[in-house]
């Protein structure tokens, strides 16, 4: 078949792993050669990790770290510049009653809201590793991804030009599920190129797999490898618009891929579970899973993020409980 021998854009990682003659066929052979996922074992492992009890000083550490790893998100059709400004205010000062509260890693908005986020952040805009807050933008016809490549690339370039530090792109799930892995691959490579700034640096690229639409763990594993091979800096579970969104087993599986990639090449790829993580308790389980799967060095903003909006308030309530010794309530955090 002609399609199978179409040669693909030379993503540097893929060339290294698959060899120089990168074709749709060689990519498919590689992805289908990945071993299947033991679903029962995966879910048991995730359930086992979820039973750890994290208390007192470990809990305090975990809560602060969760805040530092949050991509504070608003992705609503009803978003306004004012909503984005209040989101940024919350990102900079999550808890006005306690100045020791750390800042979140990033704010995550639609592409047209990037200028307002950048303006509102002002001098606090920058790398979360330096204690600053970066701006992430969803692009490529988020959340469905149903648009032509030209539109997706224009969407991406717009956001980068407006000052986005990170681009959250969606893969074409329809193409992936119908076996056109090459199309998905090409798009990621093209979007990665569109993340290039005028000075030659790149905005960080998070590839959203939308695991809720991929149906099987095997597909999640293949899509994770595909995204990493194509040049993704992060692999992200979900858009948050599809149920189920992030689950612990899926995140564990993606972390295993990232770990394997690190063993294979020495490179670090990040993971971002997003959607459906609302309680501190759940978030702590994710931290445990990260630490036990890829190691604690992954628990920093350029390697692990939570895509969340209501999670932050729950973490703040828990923090207030630890600080004051009494249970707090929703009256003591902002209504977002």
């Amino acid at each position: 078949m002609t399609m199978q021998t179409t040669s693909l854009a030379p993503a540097e990682r893929a060339v290294r792993v698959l060899g120089g003659d990168l074709t749709e066929r060689s990519l498919r052979q590689y992805l289908e050669g990945l071993s299947g996922v033991d679903a029962v074992g995966l879910e048991q492992r995730a359930a086992g990790l979820a039973t750890r009890s994290i208390k007192t000083s470990s809990k305090a550490w975990a809560l602060d770290r969760i805040i530092e790893l949050i991509d504070l998100t608003t992705l609503e059709g009803a978003d306004t510049p004012g909503k984005v400004r209040s989101l940024v205010a919350k990102a900079l000062t999550p808890d006005a009653s306690d100045p020791s509260t750390p800042r979140v890693a990033a704010v995550c908005v639609y592409g047209d809201m990037v200028p307002y986020a950048v303006e509102a952040l002002g001098s606090a805009h920058g790398d979360p590793d330096d204690g600053l807050v970066s701006v992430a933008a969803v692009a490529t016809a988020f959340p469905s991804g149903r648009a032509s490549l030209a539109v997706k690339l224009a969407d991406t370039r717009d956001a980068v030009a407006a000052g986005a530090d990170e681009i959250d792109m969606v893969i074409d799930r329809g193409a992936f599920l119908s076996g056109r892995h090459g199309k998905v691959f090409e798009e990621i490579v093209a979007v990665k190129e569109a993340c290039r700034r005028d000075d030659g640096s790149y905005a960080s690229l998070k590839v959203i797999l939308e695991t809720g639409e991929l149906n099987t763990y095997d597909n999640v594993r293949r899509a994770s490898w595909l995204s990493i091979l194509a040049g993704g800096d992060f692999i992200k579970t979900s858009t948050g618009k599809v149920s189920p969104a992030a689950t612990l087993p899926v995140t564990l599986l993606m972390l295993e891929v990232v770990r394997d990639w690190h063993r294979l090449t020495g490179e670090y790829v990040g993971v971002k579970p997003a959607g459906g993580i609302r309680a501190s308790k759940d978030a702590v389980r994710y931290l445990v899973t990260v630490a036990e799967t890829v190691g604690e060095q992954w628990l920093q903003p350029h390697l692990f993020r939570f895509g969340a909006s209501s999670l932050l308030n729950d973490v703040l309530l828990q923090r207030q409980k630890l600080r004051t010794g009494r249970y707090s309530g929703p009256d003591y955090v902002t209504i977002d």
Binding site: R326, Y327, G329, P330, D331
Partner: protein, 285 residues
């Protein structure tokens, strides 16, 4: 052939469900004669927290129901209670050592209390609200609204069923959601009442029943920032001044301890309401 008796393990009532204590603890309930009656869950502070979360979630629906509807639902509780009269009489006799006549009298009074308070649901606003005279072309209306989540320490000691209902029912009338810590030594009627509530039309979470040690649980409820009012009726034996101080920290309404079974009064309904006053122009053309 003799048959082994099957003592019941009583559980908590939180959010319309009957969970065991999160702590896994339980304690023995003995009758007036010292004989083993049953095991009850020994609630922990986390159960109290879960109960507050459930109550908070239930407030909007219950407070938002029409007053008439709330009255009907409360009346329905009295109906179901009447249907399970024999069980309550039996439990009161076993746990409080009452005679059949005394126990029956307490159950009757309890049912009458529900009916009495149910009747107030769509009437207390007329009594407590007002159209205030003002010097201008405005309607000025004051109406009582529910306070929100009310934590209650049920009377401890004699009259475990009647005392419980005399504190829970009035808080429900206005549309509050309730977390009640039952009589520590006589919790049977509280749990059976929870079964009555679960099988009547009271939405889950509107009433949450904790059994266990008030001395352990109530300080957490008193200081909880998401509790709006604290009824210390049965807290006379506790360090209730400290509880009141803890409650003041988050500006809760507080009812002080009262010995015995409190009387049914309109004041108990109004204790857990907030007055809202609105101005509205008389001429809008």
């Amino acid at each position: 052939m003799s048959r082994l008796s099957i003592p019941k393990t009583y559980k908590l009532y939180i959010g319309g469900k009957f969970p065991r204590s999160e702590s896994g603890r339980s304690y023995e309930i003995t009758g007036a004669d010292g004989a083993f009656l049953a095991n009850a869950s020994l609630a922990s502070r986390k159960d109290a927290r879960d109960a507050v979360v459930a109550a908070r979630a239930a407030v909007s629906g219950w407070a938002g129901a029409t007053a008439y509807n709330r009255g009907q639902v409360l009346y329905r509780v009295a109906e179901v209670l009447e249907g399970r009269r024999a069980q309550f009489v039996e439990e009161l006799r076993a746990s409080e050592g009452l005679t059949a006549a005394e126990a029956a009298r307490q159950v009757d009074e309890t049912i009458d209390t529900w009916v009495w308070y149910a009747g107030w649901a769509d009437k207390f606003v007329q009594v407590a609200g007002a159209g205030n005279p003002v010097a201008g072309p405005f309607f000025n209306l004051s109406v009582p609204e529910p306070t929100g989540v009310v934590a209650i320490v049920a009377p401890q000691g004699e009259g475990s069923l009647l005392g419980l209902v005399r504190v829970v029912a009035p808080a429900l009338v206005a549309g509050n959601a309730v977390v009640v810590v039952a009589d520590e030594r006589h919790p049977l009627s509280a749990i059976s009442l929870a079964e009555v509530l679960a099988t009547s039309d009271v939405p889950g979470g509107v009433v949450n029943v904790l059994t266990g040690s008030p001395a352990e649980i109530v300080p957490w409820l008193a200081s909880h920032a998401d509790v709006n009012a604290l009824d210390l009726t049965g807290a006379g034996e506790l360090e209730w001044v400290d509880l009141e101080i803890a409650a003041a920290e988050t500006l809760k309404r507080v009812l002080r301890p009262e010995p015995g079974v409190p009387a049914a009064t309109l004041d108990r309904i109004l204790a857990f309401t907030e007055t809202k006053t609105v101005w509205h122009t008389k001429s809008l053309i």
